[in-house]
């Protein structure tokens, strides 16, 4: 069924069913990915999908239902679902259908740069990347993945208060994971690059950087347990910030699930720490002019010079002052709170200078087990790690088979310096996390 006809029929059915106010949230995706191996296609995936989430106020509560099928049967299911689910809700949260703002920001995205790219061109780029990877070093044996991908995503919110907004964005990207081998020992590394334009994804450079990392970290071994001065390299720093970004959620504060609840205005981090949520970032993968409730987005510091300025809010968590951070992790997900382009502000020294300042310590370049060994509620983490040993300002050797343990809130306070090398991690559908490398005065390491 045509989208416009579907919306008309759905809205009419909702009105007739006694739903006072309602809203349809659509997501449409066009995704492509190819993975190559030994000069041949290993995996190839292409898709067109769309889904709708319908929500409405019934008997004073908000009910939600979603569907990937958009036919007459779906309309009935969505309307009945909204009614039935609304009747189950018991919280006194005032959820509202928002009428919209008048001045949404304009974020320029040239979708044609992505939609015009033919599948063959993407396959060729993946093949070029594999070739570059193999040629980068004779110790490269194969890859654990060598892929090129693209995605075009559009969201639209239409509601009974007259709001009708949409935003379309698209990215291309490449990922590569070379496996290297020497004297029977294997090692690997992973790297990726995403952009809005294929010319910004240099597959050769990416392949060479990944191989370099795999070679440099070969023949790693453990180090004695103890407390070490540590640099979290930018990619690892972003992973860390991403995993713990939920501690800045006003929704979690409301539920008592973050220790930052009610601590706005307090120093929660070292003075050199500033963390910004910037939905309007020109180069941001999570940029958006409106949030999942249709509220206009804006840029704000969440932590400024160590002080907690605000938590992130939606209309549901703070009806007076949403920060425009209502978010949906997929069309069918309930409206939650999440950051957009969220990053630790860079300092002014280079990573090399930072390494030179360390007499005795480690640089962490890989963390494992983030989904199990990090607890957002307590802030505690205990994670498998890899990296490099630093002695007298120089990298001495690669390290593996260690864990690093600590508490995120303590880490924030122990940051002593921040480098200038801000880098964004692989974006999720709604959030893009970035960080420069940072140093902490000590971290507990378990090893030998």
């Amino acid at each position: 069924m045509d989208r416009k006809v579907f919306v008309e029929k759905l809205f009419l059915a909702a009105k007739n069913a006694g739903i006072d106010e309602f809203e349809a949230y659509f997501e449409t995706s066009d995704d492509f990915s190819v993975d190559v191996m030994d000069g041949e296609i290993r995996e190839y995936s292409a898709s067109n999908t769309a889904g709708v989430c319908f929500r409405g106020l019934y008997a004073g509560r908000m009910g939600y239902a979603s569907s990937e099928e958009m036919d007459e049967e779906a309309i009935e299911m969505l309307v009945e679902g909204v009614k039935g689910n609304a009747l189950l809700i018991e919280t006194d949260d005032k959820e509202i259908i928002y009428g919209g703002d008048s001045d949404y920001a304009v974020i320029e995205r040239d979708i044609e740069k992505i939609s015009d790219m033919h599948a063959d061109e993407k396959i060729q780029l993946a093949l070029d990347m594999e070739k570059a990877m193999r040629e980068a070093d004779e110790r490269v044996v194969r890859s654990e993945g060598c892929g090129y991908m693209s995605g075009i995503h559009e969201k639209q919110i239409v509601n009974s208060k007259g709001l009708d907004v949409s935003f379309k964005t698209g990215t291309v990207g490449a990922v590569v994971a070379p496996i290297v081998s020497e004297n029977g020992k294997v090692n690997f590394a992973f790297d990726m690059k995403f952009a809005f334009d294929k010319k910004d994804v240099d597959v050769k450079e990416l392949a060479e950087r990944a191989v370099d990392e795999a070679i440099k970290s070969m023949n790693a071994s453990s180090i004695p347990s103890g407390s070490y001065k540590a640099i979290f390299r930018n990619d690892v720093a972003a992973t860390m910030l991403g995993v713990f970004s939920s501690v800045f959620s006003g929704e979690n504060a409301k539920k008592g699930l973050t220790l930052l609840k009610g601590r706005e205005g307090e120093m929660i981090a070292s003075e050199c720490v500033t963390i910004t949520d910037d939905p309007l970032l020109e180069t941001g993968f999570a940029s958006t002019p409106f949030d999942a409730e249709g509220v206009k987005t804006y840029t704000k510091d969440v932590v400024k010079d160590g002080k907690l300025m605000t938590l992130l809010h939606s209309l549901k968590t703070c009806p007076e002052k949403s920060t425009g951070n209502a978010s949906k992790a997929g069309y069918s997900a309930p409206v939650q709170v999440a950051p957009t382009n969220f990053y630790l502000a860079p300092g002014d020294i280079s990573l090399d200078e930072m390494i030179e300042s360390v007499e005795n310590g480690i640089m962490i370049t890989s963390l494992m087990g983030m989904h199990s060994g990090a607890n957002q509620i307590s802030g505690d983490f205990s994670l498998g790690a890899k990296g490099f040993l630093i002695e007298n300002g120089k990298i001495v050797r690669p390290v593996d088979q260690i864990t690093v343990a600590g508490n995120f809130f303590e880490v924030l306070k122990k940051v002593t310096s921040i480098a200038a090398d801000l880098r964004f991690a692989r974006p999720s559908s709604v959030t893009s996390i970035g960080a420069p490398s940072f140093m902490v005065q000590e971290i507990a390491v378990a090893g030998l």
Partner: protein
């Protein structure tokens, strides 16, 4: 409903450019989720997942395409997209005759969750939250969530297969947060099964599970941080089986073995574990969380001995990797939904019961760690490096369980740990998890009796 004729035409079109095999995976899923935080229901959602995925092979090349548009025309367009990607030959002699079959249903379902009223489902999470909250005043917050879904699939392929299956899952998740002195600790319990709503008055004692989650949160709130170092570790039954799942199971999936990206590649018939270790991956257990009737490639599910008395017996193999490895499929092809191409995955994976007495395992243990409940973990199959979190741990001192410790992580290499298992207890128990991999997140059981590892690196502070 996928019509045989539509499926046959689409499959014919899919192999019209040189492909030698094609398959359609059609899915219509209803899911619901109901959640309460503290005293009030705050989330109630229902959804319908609907779409089809189509795969074409040409030798070892594979193309996967998917869409929500399952009309006859939509499926033909999907086929054309796949056909254009896999080859450029022009053939018109492809004839696919689909012959339907009825598969054997292993799993009795008494109460289809989608037919159960919201009020009855809400009562379950209410009971859970109340029970957890009443455990102690230190329980500051409780979340109870009931998830259920019903997945209807039709799988058709160019070899003439046309089968339907209906999978029903129910799960309760309880998270308790204990608070004190500016700190929070959590305890989780999340029992589930391939069952309907009857789960909550048969296998699962809702109140008991909720109290267990609350007790764990409180124990951990009063625990010291775990000391770091290398030490013997006793891992209890139930979710302790995650050690095998991560440290070994993933490395036995064809997904990594077929490419040589596993430390166990090429080791069939070799001793890869301690001789007291036998490990099994079984999809045939009635109503178990990781069970099936058929896998997501339409093949009957199986019981597979992975390791027998320390010797590697079998890998878990899906259809595409069976070609690559030149070995038969093992009914292990799984995927989260139609948006993923299937690959080899675990089902209910466990270490079989051994001969050691549980009390003796602790009593004879040198000072170390007792991991009563494990958290999740991950592994890199290439190197076998794994890590996982200990949800509830205690120190072992002088052969006795001593004070609780928190924040422990176990790291190591799968192949090494398997050889260091020196005790396997008698009482096997399984627990439920969602396993994430390249074909999405699928329900899996992990399990084991109590085991002991002679030494393992414990991360702590």
């Amino acid at each position: 409903m996928l019509k045989k004729g539509d499926a046959a035409r689409a499959l014919e079109r899919a192999v019209s450019t040189g492909g030698d095999f094609a398959e359609i995976f059609y899915e219509d899923t209803r899911k619901s989720r109901l959640s309460q935080t503290n005293a009030a229901i705050d989330t109630a959602t229902t959804g319908r997942i609907h779409g089809a995925g189509l795969r074409v092979y040409k030798g070892l090349n594979s193309v996967y395409v998917y869409t929500n548009d399952t009309s006859a025309e939509g499926l033909l367009r999907l086929s054309e997209r796949a056909a254009a990607a896999i080859g450029s030959e022009k053939r018109s002699d492809q004839k696919v005759e689909l012959v339907g079959s009825i598969i054997k249903n292993i799993h009795d379902i008494r109460e289809l969750p989608m037919d159960v009223s919201g009020v009855r489902r809400a009562a379950v999470v209410k009971d859970a939250c109340r029970a957890a909250k009443s455990e102690s005043e230190e329980i500051a917050q409780v979340t109870g969530t009931i998830f259920d879904w019903e997945q209807n699939v039709t799988i058709a392929n160019t070899q003439g297969m046309f089968v339907n299956d209906r999978r029903v899952y129910s799960r309760l998740m309880i998270r308790a947060v204990a608070s004190g002195n500016g700190e929070n600790q959590t305890g989780m319990e999340s029992p589930g099964a391939m069952m309907g709503f009857e789960l909550f008055n048969t296998r699962v004692n809702v109140e008991k599970a909720a109290k267990a989650a609350a007790k764990r949160a409180i124990t951990m709130l009063h625990a010291d941080v775990c000391p770091a170092g290398v030490m013997p570790v006793v891992i209890d039954n139930g979710f302790g089986g995650v050690i095998f799942h991560e440290a070994c199971g993933h490395s036995l999936e064809a997904t990594s073995v077929a490419y040589g990206n596993s430390e166990f590649a090429g080791k069939l018939g070799q001793m890869i574990a301690s001789p007291i270790v036998t490990a099994i991956d079984d999809g045939t257990l009635a109503n178990e969380w990781g069970s099936e009737n058929i896998d997501d490639e339409g093949n009957p599910t199986t019981k597979l001995v992975l390791i027998e008395n320390g010797v590697l017996k079998n890998y878990m193999i899906d259809r595409l990797n069976a070609r690559r490895m030149n070995m038969p499929v093992t009914g292990s092809g799984r995927r989260e939904n139609y948006t993923y191409a299937p690959t080899s995955r675990m089902r209910n994976t466990y270490i079989a019961p051994g001969n050691h007495d549980e009390a003796e395992i602790i009593a004879s243990c040198p000072d170390g760690l007792y991991a009563k409940v494990m958290g999740g973990g991950s592994v890199n199959p290439l190197t076998g490096e794994f890590n996982f979190a200990v949800g509830e741990g205690y120190l072992i001192k002088n052969g006795k369980i001593d004070r609780p410790v928190r924040g422990a992580t176990l790291i190591g290499k799968g192949g090494e740990v398997l050889k260091k298992i020196d005790r396997v207890g008698k009482k096997m128990r399984m627990a439920q998890g969602m396993c994430g991999s390249s074909s999405g997140s699928v329900p899996t059981n992990v399990g084991q009796p109590m085991i002991r590892v002679t030494d393992i690196t414990v991360g702590g502070r």
